[in-house]
């Protein structure tokens, strides 16, 4: 008997869904997951999801990019092979710095943007050849699916879900 039961409640309106999620939370049921066709504002707060820290990672990646640009321009233009270009010799990085500002800016953006997106893909487990995990194909069209693990009385839970306006309720054995 390794299988555990979950309830899939489908809604077809975002406002109904948002109120339903609040009611389900008030009734002390754990919401495992909500699948949506589009972002519903306030849903993460209603579900009690922690805020994402991706913006912080972007900042750190940006600092990394800036450091790489500083190191690269210093190593290539000043240390490894200093050249006198157009009567402007490469004595110190600081004196040549104004010419490197575009490179520093572009690499900051390059690192911040790409590494943040890669982090997002890895954290959300999305990449080429990844199999989709939404339990019902309608959740990418106009339906919202709330997944609730069954801990007590199924009938009581389904009655609650019905009263919140679910258009379809399925009880499923999750393997």
């Amino acid at each position: 008997m390794g299988a555990s039961k979950v309830v899939h409640a489908l809604y077809n309106d975002d406002e109904v869904l948002l109120d339903a999620v609040k009611e389900i939370k008030t009734a002390h049921h754990h919401i495992e997951e909500v699948f949506c066709p589009f972002p519903v504002h306030g849903l993460d707060k209603a579900m009690g999801l922690a805020p994402t820290r991706l913006a912080i990672t972007a900042f750190m990646y940006g600092i990394t990019g800036l450091s790489v640009a500083i190191w690269m321009t210093n190593y290539m233009m000043i240390q490894n092979w200093p050249q006198d270009i157009g009567g402007k010799p490469s004595f110190s990085w600081l004196e040549n710095m104004p010419a490197f500002v575009p490179i520093m800016f572009e690499l900051t953006v390059f690192f911040a943007a790409h590494l943040m997106v890669i982090t997002f893909y890895m954290r959300s487990k999305i990449w080429p050849f990844k199999k989709a995990e939404n339990p019902d194909p309608r959740t990418t069209d106009d339906h919202f699916l709330v997944e609730i693990p069954v801990s007590g009385d199924v009938a009581e839970l389904t009655t609650l879900l019905q009263s919140t306006g679910a258009v379809e309720i399925n009880v499923i054995d999750k393997h």
């Binding site: 109904v16 066709p37 092979w81 390059f110 911040a112 999305i126 990418t140 054995d173 999750k174």
Partner: protein, 487 residues
């Protein structure tokens, strides 16, 4: 409802649409068959592209000498095209990033196509410097990689190298921004697909997007941060393109006004190209309910604004060229010399297409007309090409010494490559219009209740947009099988 919108605002989605209708409308061009017009347009674009490729092979095989260049005019037609395409590529990121930060909801109908246009335009732009190298197989020399010459590194003091970094960052970041936004929409097509091959392709393209609440939270954060990063990026790209000229010592190029004026010009030409493309696309893909007169008007307002900035910059350049009293300044692209010299036709074309034409958009009737906007946008596209041609060819045609004076005349190869890039651009865009969701399906659904026509009417009557909760008794389905297989 995602946000409050004043009832006085015009709706952004016309007609009585439901979430499912939006999916249907956007999926239709992908799932249906292409019509005859599409095939005709595609064939013309393909022929133009192949002609251009022929000219490129001829150039590479024979040498840059097949172009109309000389030792005095070392850049002309090709760099004109480069700057023109990069400029066009500016509207996409502007629409998706800057307008996102300003919370302009109307961007949602047009941002997908504008970003596609950006990416395809930057492809074309990138071709020109690479072909101009003459030995394109050495193009990787622009990258700072260890090599057997010392290593002899790239010159980080050169604006041409800044361009390499700016354009490659811009292209790759725009591509990632575009693709991340596409994931949920590819997932929609994937979950609707009936044909197994189509399902496989869209499953691959969607990266297995499932639409969990946490994914959406991250998605929105990533979009916002990318918009924040792309906004200075888009301004930096054309600034750096203008440095190619502004950091030189040629009269007419050595101008501190270039960076802001190039950026305004880029937005001006980019929006004109968006108007051109969407004018056709809204008809071909039946998106009249989503790309409305209001969208066209908003874009025209941006065109008047940026066109105004460009006009002021032209006036300043003309005045300063005269005011210096320097004979060398008298043949810059905006000067009395240019207006009376052999390139007077190019000078007056610039004034006509770029300064006079956009003024008709002050009239509301013109601004809200699809046909007029389309014609004006074509004129601006031509005008912006002339701007770059004038800056490059006129300035170089009269150097400091009369013995270096030379008139640039393009050869059929110059023209052929340009036509080829237009063909290549339309080949990509036409393929895109048949295979990609041309409107961000998921995003447009978020504004349906606040900006949809029927919902606005509902609210005007004082009714709620939230449907009544009807308790359906017999809807519990207990199954022991795993429903995951259904997806």
């Amino acid at each position: 409802m995602s946000h409050y919108e004043a009832p006085i605002r015009e709706p952004l989605i016309l007609g009585e649409k439901s979430y499912h209708d939006i999916t249907e409308d956007i999926a239709r061009p992908i799932e249906g068959k292409a019509n005859k017009n599409w095939y005709i347009a595609f064939s013309i674009a393909l022929v133009a592209m192949l002609w251009g490729f022929g000219c490129i092979f001829y150039t590479v095989g024979t040498g840059i000498g097949v172009w109309g260049l000389s030792k005095n005019i070392g850049w002309a037609w090709d760099i004109t095209n480069f700057v023109w395409w990069v400029g066009i590529g500016h509207a996409g990121t502007l629409i998706s990033a800057v307008l996102l930060l300003f919370r302009q909801k109307w961007r949602m109908a047009i941002n997908r196509s504008a970003e596609a246009m950006t990416i395809f335009a930057v492809f074309q732009a990138g071709l020109f410097p690479i072909i101009h190298m003459g030995r394109p197989w050495n193009a990787f020399w622009v990258l700072p990689i260890p090599n057997q010459f010392g290593p002899l590194w790239v010159n980080f003091n050169s604006p041409l190298l800044w361009d390499v970094f700016a354009i490659s960052t811009y292209l790759s970041v725009s591509l990632v921004f575009w693709w991340t936004g596409l994931l949920p929409d590819f997932a929609t097509i994937r979950d609707r697909a009936v044909k197994p091959f189509q399902k496989k392709i869209y499953a691959l393209l969607s990266f297995g997007w499932s639409g969990r609440a946490k994914d959406w939270q991250r998605f929105e954060e990533v979009s916002l941060v990318l918009a924040g990063l792309a906004t200075p990026l888009v301004l930096s790209v054309h600034t750096i393109v203008s440095f190619d000229f502004a950091t030189s010592i040629n009269p007419g190029w050595h101008s501190t006004i270039f960076p802001p004026y190039f950026v305004a010009g880029a937005i001006f030409s980019g929006f004109a190209m968006v108007q051109t493309l969407l004018g056709i696309m809204r008809k071909v893909t039946n998106m009249e309910a989503y790309i409305t007169r209001l969208h066209v008007e908003y874009m025209n307002i941006v065109i008047i604004l940026t066109g105004g900035i460009v006009a002021v910059a032209y006036a300043t350049e003309f005045f300063i060229a005269w005011y210096t009293g320097s004979p060398y300044e008298n043949y810059t692209y905006l000067s009395v010399g240019a207006a009376t010299g052999p390139y007077a036709w190019a000078f007056y074309s610039l004034l006509f297409f770029n300064i006079l034409t956009p003024q008709v958009l002050w009239f509301k009737k013109v601004r809200r007309s699809f046909v007029c906007s389309f014609i004006v946008s074509i004129f601006i596209n031509i005008g912006m090409w002339f701007e770059r041609f004038d800056i490059i060819a006129i300035v170089l045609s009269k150097g400091h010494l009369p013995s270096t004076w030379w008139r640039f005349e393009p050869t059929f190869v110059d023209v052929g490559i340009f036509i080829g890039t237009i063909g290549f651009f339309f080949v990509l865009f036409l393929l895109y219009a048949r295979t990609f969701p041309v409107i961000p399906t998921a995003e447009i659904k978020t504004i349906l209740k606040s900006s949809g026509e029927s919902y606005k009417e509902l609210r005007a009557k004082g009714l709620s947009t939230k449907p009544e909760v009807v308790i359906v008794e017999k809807n519990i389905e207990a199954t022991s099988s795993d429903k995951n297989t259904k997806a």
